[in-house]
Amino acid sequence: MYFDYFNVFVFLTTGLLFVFANMIVGGLVRPQKPTPEKLSPYECGEDVIGDSWIRFDIRFYTTALIYLIFAVEIAFLFPWALVVREIGMLALVEGFTFVAILLLGLVYVWVKGDLDWVKTYNASVKGGTEVEDRPAADIHGGPLPVELLQAAGVGPTITEQQTKGEKGHS
């Protein structure tokens, strides 16, 4: 009956079981002597600064949006790829047209700079102050607090440029 899908199910279940069985066995076997230090999140031995819930950068969201569109494209190309040999030239042309139209979208986001990871930020609407977003300060994808970086002596320079609006990336 559903034999092919049953294979998938068995793989899925095995994978899930493998994770949780190991965790449960580990939890039963290991000694548990928690101290406050052990329970704190580990940040390479440093004391934890700030909140674990940081605000993600908008770039992650934009990239996920772009990914989602192309995932839908891939979903449409799966059935196409299965029959393209069988149907021949027409299918090939159709498929390439499909991809070419969506390629325009890729060109658009590329040209408009939505794929650039390091970009200059228009940090304030009033006055047009721009914060330069340095890659070194970009571990979490968003600008780190400036005071923190200055305390570490690697503060990003904030240049007061009277640039109008979103120059260069809009």
């Binding site: 559903y2 034999f3 605000r55 569109i69 995932a71 799966f78 499909f98 930020y121 304030s124 009033k126």
Partner: protein, 188 residues
């Protein structure tokens, strides 16, 4: 056996949906939503729609859920628990379930209760054939790419407009204010 799997997947979907509404942290809700998506994918497989199931996993679990999580993480952290009155939510869901059951009972559609179908065949290749047949769905297939293009450009455009960090982001505003005074001092 089929019933067993149906109960498993349906239970997963319903449990995920309930947990999505019930969880106090919105991130937990988003993760619970994954259970719903996977359960629905399993139900698609049971219905013989294997391509739909894989698309469900690829797009909903792989794309939309990630998008939702990023959306949550974009918003300012809100540690306050969702203290909405549970009684109201509970009674509202009861009303919803009652309405659903009323529609089920009152509806004239008789769903097939037992399937006498053969083992479901792989659906991806027939879908491909239909998509590429000139008198089939060829034009819609090409239009899909145009729709996707519009969606891509539109969504990226809307997402981009909010790129400028708002002044009401207090920390940034404070930093900028401080910066301004420092530079004024330096200038003077």
């Amino acid at each position: 056996m089929e019933l067993l799997f149906f109960l498993l997947f349906a239970g997963l979907a319903i449990a995920g949906a309930v947990a999505t509404v019930w969880m106090r942290y919105v991130v937990h809700s988003a993760f619970a939503l994954m259970g719903t998506f996977l359960g629905v994918a399993g139900l698609y497989v049971l219905l013989g729609a294997d391509f739909l199931a894989i698309t469900q996993i690829l797009i909903y679990v792989g794309g939309i859920l990630v998008l939702i999580l990023f959306g949550i993480m974009l918003t300012p952290p809100d540690r306050t628990e969702r203290n909405a009155k549970r009684v109201i939510g509970f009674s509202a869901s009861l009303v919803a379930i009652a309405l659903f059951l009323a529609v089920q009972i009152g509806s004239v559609v008789r769903w097939a209760e037992k399937s006498n179908l053969e083992a479901p065949k792989a659906t991806a290749a027939p879908i491909g054939r239909e998509l590429l047949r000139p008198d089939g769905y060829l034009i819609p297939f090409e239009l899909v790419s145009v729709v996707l293009l519009v969606a891509l450009i539109g969504s990226v455009f809307i997402a981009r407009r909010r790129k400028a960090v708002r002044v009401d982001d207090s920390s940034t505003a404070a930093i900028l204010a401080e910066r301004g005074t420092l530079q004024q001092k330096a200038g003077a």
